[in-house]
């Protein structure tokens, strides 16, 4: 596989993408103090609201920065493709997002992001800013349940952000926001498959190859190896094995209400995602559970990687209400749902 990207240079890839985003959505988001790598909402922060921030590498649009906006995140620090941003950028972002009620740092569980957020929160502490950290560890394929805190964070982040941001928007305290977000994460599981690799612009070639008739089950969104390599299967078989793994980790029973996110990794057409959604409804119906909310589309990608992930969130009344709370960013809204 040869790299074929519409870009000017690998080194300018992220900054030009960011400039494009600020040019397109300058009425909604802005670069904090002109720093392209710290994206915040365009308006001024709401006094007293708990700040919800995230950070992570580029190459996952609309993750991460695409979820900054009304009813969603307050700020996002942006790294290079698949790499964490620095602690100092996170610190600036936390400082901006703090409106006196503290800041929740809600991000995917990756080594670089973890350490940088740790440092940034130590800096923030010194400045007297109250912070909390939650690492999203939703990928059931990446570690067994007894090591759940080692799991990678994947598309489950979107539900975590949605819940946390809605709670903050309702003016809950930092402790309350943190508690409900942790509860949501206890109810969130994801699992992915990959059909093709993707290429980091600065690397110029894929970090792995997948045979033409094979797929990687449980692959991470940066191409981290999964559970097993298997021959291609039918959509129904794929959904069954993914849902088996999710439900094996977080049992679903008759009458449970759930939200489902069928996420395209970038190269997989939307047509195929809806074929999967159909199979999921059948799987869930067999259990007797009910799908109350669904997102189908590209919510967390790995550039051109082909593949998809399924995320399930078990709902209760509070989580449902927070999920339905209006959200509107340039990349994500539930106003049309």
């Amino acid at each position: 596989m040869v790299m074929k990207k519409i870009m000017n240079s690998a080194d300018s890839f992220c900054d030009e993408m960011l400039e494009g985003i600020y040019l397109a959505h300058g009425d909604k988001v802005k670069a904090l103090d002109g720093d392209l790598r710290v994206l915040v909402r365009a308006g001024s922060p709401r006094a007293g609201k708990v700040g919800i921030v995230t950070a992570g590498g580029s190459g996952h649009l609309p993750v991460f920065l695409g979820y900054v906006g009304e009813g969603m995140l307050d700020a996002c620090a942006v790294g290079n493709v698949f790499a964490s941003p620095s602690a100092s950028k996170m610190q600036k972002m936390i400082e901006h997002a703090d409106q006196g009620s503290g800041v929740l740092c809600l991000y995917g569980n990756y080594g670089g992001d973890n350490m940088n957020f740790d440092m940034a929160c130590e800096f923030a502490d010194i400045q007297g800013i109250k912070t909390a950290q939650i690492r999203v560890c939703d990928d059931v394929a990446s570690a067994p349940l007894e090591n759940a805190e080692k799991r990678r964070g994947v598309a489950g982040m979107i539900y975590a952000w949605k819940i946390a941001a809605a709670a903050a928007d309702k003016m809950m305290s930092l402790d309350e926001v943190t508690a409900v977000t942790r509860r949501a994460l206890g109810n969130i599981r994801s699992m992915g498959i990959a059909l093709s690799p993707c290429i980091v612009p600065q690397a110029g070639k894929p970090t792995f190859e997948i045979a033409a008739d094979e797929m990687e089950i449980g692959m991470g969104i940066h191409g981290e190896v999964g559970i097993e390599v298997s021959k291609m299967k039918s959509a129904d078989e794929i959904v069954t094995l993914m849902m088996d793994k999710i439900v094996g980790d977080m049992p679903l029973s008759e009458g449970d209400r759930i939200a489902v996110l069928v996420n395209g990794l970038g190269g997989t057409p939307m047509e195929e995602l809806y074929i999967c959604y159909k199979a999921i409804t059948e799987y869930v119906e067999d259990i007797g559970a009910v799908i109350d909310s669904r997102y189908v589309g590209e919510y967390a990608t790995s550039m051109e990687m082909a593949g998809m992930s399924i995320t399930v969130m078990k709902l209760d009344d509070e989580l449902s209400e927070l999920l339905d709370h209006p959200a509107s960013t340039p990349f994500f809204t539930n106003l049309n749902m």
Binding site: S84, S86, Y110, G111, Q202, A203, T207, G223, V225
Partner: protein, 214 residues
């Protein structure tokens, strides 16, 4: 080489940067087994960043401790990947222990390396034997201790550290990764050398070559 200045440190970072550049595809290759294959890129960026930042400073009179603190913030800024951040923590830890000119080169070097090891272990929650850069650093530290115990010269000390780091790196081949993305491979992470440990080895190699050559 008994007296080191900030300028020497900058020159050493230049040596390191050359190593990273020349071994970039090898590092990408190693990082691809279990990681995301960005190691060669992030290390080049990180050390270039350090060189850029330090080049703007008057280093001749700066304490080595402060030079390393600047370098630590620079590598995190320019390469905030896992290993960039780990090296940041390492340099902060090392800077705390590097002491003053009253001590010999070899002792300061040993103390710096010990401080770096400690700093990383605390920041990253890891220890030797877990298939990371710590194994290279630990190997270097063991060799340094021995070298100092036998009263070796600075040249001998850096060469000992370099070969100790290489041994530490090579030992990672048979280890199972428990940290970083490679840990997801579990048993399958055995059989190849850790990319971060290789970076560690290259750093000690560059230090050795600079010190021996000057």
């Amino acid at each position: 080489m008994n007296r080191m200045t900030g300028n020497d440190i900058l020159e050493i970072f230049k040596f390191i940067e050359v190593e990273m550049r020349e071994n970039s595809s090898h590092l990408i290759h190693l990082d691809s087994f279990g990681g995301d294959g960005d190691l060669g890129i992030s290390m080049c960026q990180g050390f270039r960043g350090i060189i850029e930042e330090l080049s703007n400073l008057d280093l001749s009179d700066m304490e080595l401790k402060d030079v390393f603190l600047k370098a630590a913030m620079a590598i995190n800024e320019y390469s905030p990947s896992s290993l960039g951040t780990i090296l940041c923590a390492g340099m902060i830890g090392g800077a705390k222990m590097i002491g003053t000119e009253s001590e010999s080169f070899s002792v300061r070097y040993r103390n710096f390396v010990a401080g770096a090891l400690d700093g990383i272990m605390q920041r990253a929650g890891s220890k030797r034997g877990e298939k990371t850069i710590l194994d290279a650093i630990g190997g270097a530290l063991d060799a340094l201790e021995k070298s100092i115990a036998s009263g070796d010269s600075p040249e001998d000390a850096v060469q000992a550290a370099s070969s100790g780091a290489r041994d530490g790196m090579e030992a990672t081949k048979d280890m199972i990764a428990v940290h970083g993305r490679a840990a997801y491979r579990k048993e399958n992470s055995r059989g190849y050398v850790d990319g971060g440990a290789t970076v560690g080895m290259l750093i000690f190699k560059a230090v050795s070559e600079y010190v021996v050559g000057n």
